[in-house]
């Protein structure tokens, strides 16, 4: 697989949240506003990138039997770094992300990439893979947050976007709105896939039999 493919697969074809259904807890919990979504996305990209790099560098020295605990310690170390940086320089963001900053440790995307990709592959592809997956995660978060913030609060990045007569649907800021928005996005992606598959089928049929009549 080319490096470009390694990058783009995380964004669309193997999007961690919307395709593989990984990292769902932060995707639902911090997607009530765009600011939170981007903050969480940036933190996750950093941890994912650093852990992919380190795991890939260590891949020859790590005994297979204890690789999972080692990966977890590597990830937890970088999460601690993120925690300290956020607490020192972005206290309001740290406050609103709350418990989900330490919980980046158990985001299954990060351990999943260490196990499935970085533990076996060379340094450069691991960086590309981490970046692609991290950006894919952030974009999925933004997709959910866009729907929730606009419908639930009438704003996008704290800017008023709806006309003054619009009454915000508070439900979308609360827990149920997160679940329903997530379900709708997943359904939309499945629908697009299905349509593409159907088109391919028709196309194949046409090239095979279309010319005969």
């Amino acid at each position: 697989m080319s490096l470009g493919n390694e990058f783009t697969k995380g964004i669309y074809a193997e999007n961690p949240v919307l395709r593989l259904a990984l990292g769902l807890c932060p995707a639902l919990a911090v997607s009530s506003s765009m600011t939170n979504a981007v903050g969480m996305g940036a933190s996750t990209i950093f941890v994912l990138l650093m852990s992919n790099m380190l795991v890939s560098l260590m891949r020859k020295g790590v005994p297979a039997k204890i690789r999972i605990p080692i990966y977890i310690v590597v990830i937890a170390t970088f999460v601690t770094v993120v925690e300290m940086v956020l607490a020192a320089y972005f206290p309001p963001l740290f406050e609103s992300l709350g418990i989900f900053v330490p919980l980046i440790v158990v985001n299954c995307i990060i351990l999943g990439r260490a196990e499935a990709f970085a533990g076996k592959r060379a340094f450069i592809p691991s960086i590309i893979d981490g970046l692609g997956m991290g950006i894919g995660f952030t974009l999925a978060l933004c997709a959910i947050a866009t729907v929730r913030e606009i419908l639930g609060n009438g704003t996008w990045f704290n800017l008023q976007v709806t006309p003054t007569g619009f009454e915000p649907v508070l439900l979308f800021m609360l827990a149920p709105g997160a679940f329903i928005t997530m379900g709708a996005w997943l359904g939309l992606f499945n629908w697009i896939d299905e349509r593409n598959a159907e088109k391919e089928k028709t196309k194949a049929y046409m090239t095979e039999f279309g010319g005969e009549k």
Binding site: C25, A76, V105
Partner: protein
């Protein structure tokens, strides 16, 4: 001992701030293991067990090893909290797995496959961190751990029951499987919002 206070904590974690439906913790197993009722019950029991032990162990570690005043080193090691807790939980899960396999093979065959999954269940690390953030004492932490596990199990079993019926329902094709599970979870969360009117204490 103030039992009223413990009751408030328990009701809070089971219903009002249900870990899955209100706090968004443990969503991956909630969606992943809720296809069959049997496995939902097994997973729920395993989570209650590990959460209770984890609440106990992490509280002791935080209090006596990491805390600057009550810790034995007298040094502020609280920044190590995340690393320490995840290591404690991972080794605890491994230890529990080995113990159950040795002492109760029947229980192991029922819970065994769920135990490794629990390490990366964010609800377990979540309850440990929340216990510290909310300044709970040891007994309160353990009660909170049990209650959080029960809340998770209730949500999981309800969902599994619904999904078993959904198998037979006529659902639009793009929504089949995980998407409809999320929409169901949203409807359940609306129902659980009703508990926020339940004021205790």
């Amino acid at each position: 001992m103030d039992f009223g206070n413990l009751f408030v904590i328990a009701v809070g974690s089971i219903l009002i701030n249900n870990f899955v439906l209100m706090r968004f913790l443990g969503i991956c197993p909630y969606i992943g293991v809720s296809k069959k009722l049997d496995s939902a019950v097994g997973m729920g029991m395993a989570v209650i067990f590990v959460m209770t032990l984890a609440s106990f162990a992490t509280w002791i570690i935080y209090r006596y090893l990491l805390h600057p005043v009550t810790g034995i080193w007298g040094v502020d090691l609280t920044f190590l909290r995340t690393i320490a807790f995840i290591l404690v939980i991972a080794s605890l899960v491994q230890f529990v797995e080995m113990m159950i396999q040795k002492l109760a093979p029947a229980l192991y065959s029922a819970l065994g496959i769920f135990l490794p999954l629990i390490t990366t269940n964010c609800a377990v690390l979540g309850v440990a961190v929340l216990n510290i953030d909310d300044n709970l004492n040891l007994v309160e932490s353990i009660v909170n751990g049990i209650a959080a596990g029960i809340g998770f199990t209730i949500a999981l079993i309800l969902m599994a029951g619904i999904r078993e019926r959904l198998e037979l329902a006529n659902i639009p094709k793009p929504l089949q499987g995980i998407p409809i599970a999320f929409i169901m979870a949203g409807l359940m969360a609306i129902a659980f919002l009703g508990f926020s009117g339940l004021s205790v204490g």
